[in-house]
């Protein structure tokens, strides 16, 4: 059961962060369809570690809104084929496609995805 804080962050906090730090990306669902949404893209994410202590390497951490229109629902995310299209390096104008490799976390209306 989400706390009051989580609900408020979902409804007010993250949309505000998206408006401030978000950038347009396109999300392609493996089940079909695509969505133009805003996301917060971290282009140099630090290496994270899995439960076994192995370094997990990915190129981008992408935070999207857990929302059926302004983002993607957590239940829709499929790490077996979903893709995002984004600018890989600031200054480039042509977006590139990347695979959604894994979910890093889901919380308070935010889904953080590791992409490569």
């Amino acid at each position: 059961m989400p706390s009051q804080f989580h609900n408020q962050f979902r409804d007010l906090g993250f949309p505000g962060l998206l408006a401030e730090f978000g950038e347009p990306i396109r999300y392609f669902l493996v089940k079909g369809g695509e969505r133009s949404i805003n996301a917060i893209v971290d282009r140099s994410p630090p290496a994270t570690y899995d439960a076994a202590g192995n370094v997990v390497l990915f190129e981008f951490a992408v935070r999207i809104y857990n929302h059926p229109k302004m983002g993607v629902l957590a239940s829709e995310v499929n790490t077996g084929g979903d893709e995002v299209e984004l600018i890989d390096e600031l200054g480039n104008s042509k977006p590139v496609r990347k695979s959604v490799m894994m979910r890093l976390r889901e919380d308070s209306g935010v889904i953080e995805l590791a992409c490569r």
């Binding site: 076994a52 192995n54 499929n78 077996g80 496609r97 590791a114 490569r116």
Partner: protein, 162 residues
């Protein structure tokens, strides 16, 4: 520009693997065959094949004298089959692997003299098929090793020798 024998063999390996398609008598369809750049440079996809190579070792037993002498070399090519299956699939992961690696072997073994790579090599062996599971769970698959032995002029690895 001349192309070294090892590079020519690698190109032929990619070409053979690239034909894996259900429309061509295979049980699976590859998403493509790639060779990584220094930074990777490829997008991991379901049924993607990644070809890399290992250390090239001199094979003294199969080298022979001459003018110039013929040097035999062993080069292992690693063929990685990547599976990133839809989360909703109910097919066992190992079932998918079994079909995919079998198709890779079938494709590599195309032709009666498949192991000679159009007269570029003297022998080839598929030595092992190792299973892998990415530590983060984002992919699984197999590594298949193709050990190719070829001869060149000792002083010119661009020139194939019998």
């Amino acid at each position: 520009m001349a192309t070294s024998i090892s590079e020519q063999i690698s190109a032929k390996l990619q070409t053979r693997l690239g034909v894996i398609d259900t429309g061509s008598g295979y049980e699976t369809t590859t998403a493509g065959v790639v060779r990584p750049t220094r930074l990777g440079g490829f997008q991991p996809k379901d049924y993607l094949i990644v070809v890399t190579q290992g250390d090239i070792a001199r094979n003294d037993e199969l080298s022979h004298p001459g003018n110039p002498p013929a040097a035999a070399w062993d080069i292992p090519f690693m063929v990685a089959g990547i599976l990133r299956t839809d989360e909703t699939t109910t097919t066992a992961s190992d079932t998918l692997k079994n079909q995919f690696w079998a198709d890779c072997v079938k494709a590599i073994n195309t032709g009666t003299d498949w192991y000679q790579w159009d007269s570029l090599a003297i022998n080839s062996t598929i030595t092992d098929v190792k299973d892998f599971q990415a530590s983060d769970g984002s992919a699984s698959g197999f590594f298949l090793t193709v050990l190719v032995t070829f001869r060149t002029d000792e002083n010119n690895p661009y020139n194939v020798r019998a």
